[in-house]
């Protein structure tokens, strides 16, 4: 028996995604669900970060996860192993999720009793930035091996995120041309309100700050 569902979402019929995203945000607000939209390039460490985050938080809040992928269900499997409620969303080749596709996932996951729902978006720095999913907050992960010039090349993604996690900081020894200062400067130039947190999902470095960010945002959302 599988311990997670796999659903195929349909492309939205709504022409105005922004209006639909706003509507979804209000629906989630009514049921008190905090939806975190987690984005990154392929292989930046979304699933590993999420697994460690769940391990730390699962005893203090009820968590659900929607794993979006073009294909495969390796991520939903990995997340379901942590014991939280998880579903795999297949986008049917689509490179992003819009608000209605997110809603289809939310309905399948059944989120009313959950404190935190994480949507792990398709690994892509371009398209997901253009479609508001209706999330409460947007988070992105940039990994050290990708380079500190990424804010220059994918400015929209860095502009729409509330928090940017710089992951794989344990590999700074081999990626010695990556400047923690330059990347932060470039991010803040695009988005002065962004929170920038340096982490390693492998070693746990920086997770106190990241976990505090989640706790603080959920608390603020509820009051």
């Amino acid at each position: 028996m599988e311990d997670f569902k796999v659903i195929e979402v349909k492309r939205s019929i709504f022409e105005d995604n922004d209006a639909d995203a706003q509507k979804l945000r209000e629906e989630l607000r009514t049921e008190g669900t905090f939806l975190l939209n987690l984005m990154s390039s392929p292989g930046a460490g979304k699933t590993t970060t999420l697994k460690r985050t769940i391990e730390i938080l699962k005893d203090e809040m009820k968590i659900g996860v929607m794993e979006a992928d073009i294909d495969s269900d390796v991520d939903a499997k990995a997340v379901a192993e942590t014991g939280v409620r998880a579903i795999q969303i297949h986008t049917g080749g689509m490179c992003h999720l819009d608000a209605d596709m997110t809603r289809q996932g939310i309905r399948e996951l059944e989120t009313k009793d959950l404190d935190l729902v994480v949507l792990e978006n398709v690994g892509n720095l371009v398209c997901p930035a253009e479609f508001d999913t209706g999330s409460t907050k947007n988070a992105m992960i940039l990994s050290v091996p990708e380079g500190d010039d990424k804010p220059l090349k994918y400015p929209l993604m860095f502009s729409i995120c509330d928090v940017v996690l710089i992951n794989k900081c344990d590999t700074l020894c081999v990626f010695d041309d990556f400047s923690k200062e330059s990347v932060k400067e470039r991010i803040l130039k695009l988005n002065p309100k962004a929170e920038v947190i340096y982490i390693s999902a492998k070693t746990g470095e920086g997770f106190e700050e990241w976990i505090q960010w989640i706790r603080r945002e959920i608390k603020a959302y509820r009051t």
Copy 2:
């Protein structure tokens, strides 16, 4: 004075991109230009690989480069420094290039006297796989830090490539959960004809094999 042009390409007016790509391929064939479409995730090392490739080949063939990006011209600057003809293509927010956008770049670059033209596509494992650019061959780079499970998650990209470069092999010491054997097995399962070459654009490891692949393909194209 800039030593490369920056052009803004327009979205194609052609409904049938596949037919248009075939047409562009024939146009390039007539003028004898070999077009290599180079794809990868953001930060997998397209530009660094390209710079080292150019340094090795520039005395034996005439090379031109089209750098496609949502924004910025850092890559065209870096490539122009090697002395080859380069242009920067801005996609106007688009996450990929189609055949007509590629043609607009080809015209600006003026390719008739060139032996090898490289299109560095937008950093994205999803959308560029869906749009035939009219290229002679497709190459992609997967970097070790992204993980060996990527063929499972982005199968179309791995299916359409003639050659897959596994880059940043110098970092296998810190990414010790990456299996060179597993990644190759997964790629060949999707695409039995794909050539898989392990490289490090930083150290030069594996470049003999990669350069031989280019020489062989260009020679075969001409005969």
